[in-house]
Symmetry: C2
Subunit: 328 residues, 2 copies
């Protein structure tokens, strides 16, 4: 059905080897013959069969990426950036989401891993032992997990959080609520407490809850009771819940209460008021995670030690949801 290398070979009067070379090692074939081959291939509509190629060559030309939830607006821009980047390098990207469910994740990895040359695994629920096993089988980059010996991309919120706390302090806020909605314990809370201590502000942590809009709605009702004038939410979605509830309660944002999100998703830029948030650049994640994976794949051929850790920074994006603390 599909046109094969053999037909191109006979159409251009050369052997299959030469056609293969014309595509994979163009400098090893005489320009004239190469042109003839390329012409014939174009006319016949030939393009190499990736299955055959990867069977013979052992590499698939695809990168895998497993993320917790593709419907979470934080991830699509990252996926998009990684795809664009990978395509420029001749790779395609296979993304799958694990729903943060362990057995699902295992099944997903099994389905994906055989089809890719390497895998970016985001905040896996897998045990350290399993991750190490997996890393032994294929090039692996983990994001937001730390396992000695596995290449890692770490998202550091500390810079953004420091900026956020300074921002609030400059506006005269003295007491703050942090809405914790993450499952793991290390989490975003640690940097926050440190920053607050460093700047001698007072912080109340609520939660942990689920990272949902309703969490923000609920937590918003508790802010006044704690005498706080500012809120830092676990992410933009939760922050929007806060905004929503403040509006219902007739509390002005930022007049009475300032609100800060985390992630700088689309949500932050289109909310009313627009949301001050801590930005994590999706392009940077894509670049660093993608490059790291590519390096790991390449290094695999040589020796493959020297596990590397790269860090992604963050910064505050001030918008309209923060302002001077109310003078009482």
């Amino acid at each position: 059905m599909a046109v094969t290398i053999r037909e191109v070979a006979s159409a251009s009067g050369v052997s299959v080897s030469t056609v293969s070379r014309a595509f994979t090692a163009p400098d090893q074939v005489q320009p004239r013959t190469r042109q003839r081959i390329l012409d014939a291939a174009a006319k016949l509509g030939y393009s190499p069969n990736p299955a055959a190629r990867s069977l013979r060559g052992g590499s698939t030309g695809t990168l895998g990426m497993i993320i917790p939830d593709i419907a979470n607006p934080f991830f699509p821009p990252i996926v998009k950036a990684i795809q664009a980047r990978a395509r420029r390098q001749g790779y395609t990207v296979l993304v799958a989401d694990s729903d943060e469910h362990e057995t699902d994740e295992l099944a997903t990895i099994a389905a994906v891993s055989k089809r890719v040359d390497g895998l970016i695994l985001w905040a896996s629920t897998l045990s350290e032992a399993r991750l190490l096993e997996l890393a032994g089988q294929m090039p692996l980059v983990i994001v937001n997990r730390h396992v000695p010996g596995i290449a890692e991309v770490r998202i550091s919120l500390s810079a953004g959080i420091t900026q956020a706390v300074e921002h609030l302090r400059a506006y005269g806020h003295r007491r703050c609520v942090f809405i914790n909605a993450s499952r793991d314990e290390l989490s975003r809370g640690k940097s926050i407490h440190e920053s607050f201590e460093a700047l001698d502000l007072s912080i109340v942590e609520l939660g942990p809850y689920e990272p949902r809009f309703e969490t923000g709605v609920h937590a918003a009702t508790l802010v006044a009771a704690h005498g706080a004038t500012a809120v830092i939410a676990h992410n933009d979605l939760v922050a929007l819940g806060v905004l929503h509830q403040m509006s219902s309660l007739g509390v002005s944002v930022p007049g009475d209460v300032s609100v800060i999100g985390i992630d700088d998703t689309l949500l932050a830029s289109v909310s009313t008021p627009s949301l001050t948030t801590i930005r994590i650049d999706p392009e940077e994640i894509a670049a660093k995670a993608g490059d790291l994976l590519l390096e790991t794949i390449a290094g695999r051929a040589n020796s493959g030690d020297g596990t590397s850790v790269v860090e992604i920074g963050s910064r505050l994006v001030p918008r309209a949801s923060t302002g001077p603390a109310p003078t009482r």
Copy 2:
């Protein structure tokens, strides 16, 4: 490096054929031997090589999906639903976005098409001729395009729009603005005009603009000038732009102006006020497009005529951005 079928064969004392059958046609091998094979496979950690499988068998076990923009919040839930559905059928899904750019789209299709058994193509910029050519080469389902002879999923907004218009009318609105922000001419405008005429309401169409937040911001300033008390926006994002600007202008929503979006993305449910919008169910799209593609793939084996068109409905989801028209 990886464990092959041959090793499983020798480990369990049978031929490779039998191992192959134990996986692909379990009822053709005696239960006892099958169990022995499965045990050996599990112990060795064997799983079939998809590349070899698809080279020999001609099918890849993956479905392709090309969408305009994965960062558009409309798409991720659809992708998620299709992935979940496909996985249940033993398929993996390869998604790529085309950025609505024709040459990119062509390159993307070329990269994807060889790796999949079939393709769902969303609102392609390709010419009808090219689409037909593509459909001749592989199972194809197009969404929001109509080409005779190609299986098609059509999203119909008419039901939702009718409900929206009735909703506005019941609230006493008499004059409306429609913000057109689509590139193609057929677009969402047609159903809107029809519905308004049918209910004898008056409509002003603005645009066409780009489907962006700023479009809503800009268009919002024109609403009052047209004496309208309600706005229907091209999608939720544009509607949020309207909401944002109304708030800046001190115009109350829904007190002074009612706003309706389209798509029912995450944005609609988390905005303040929450957005009345016309919902298109991502699960339904996934189910119908997925099934249609699977049918097309299967039908391909038999005869493959009888091009089918399936329609996706829509419905109004009333939230807090619509209310009674102001009595002046």
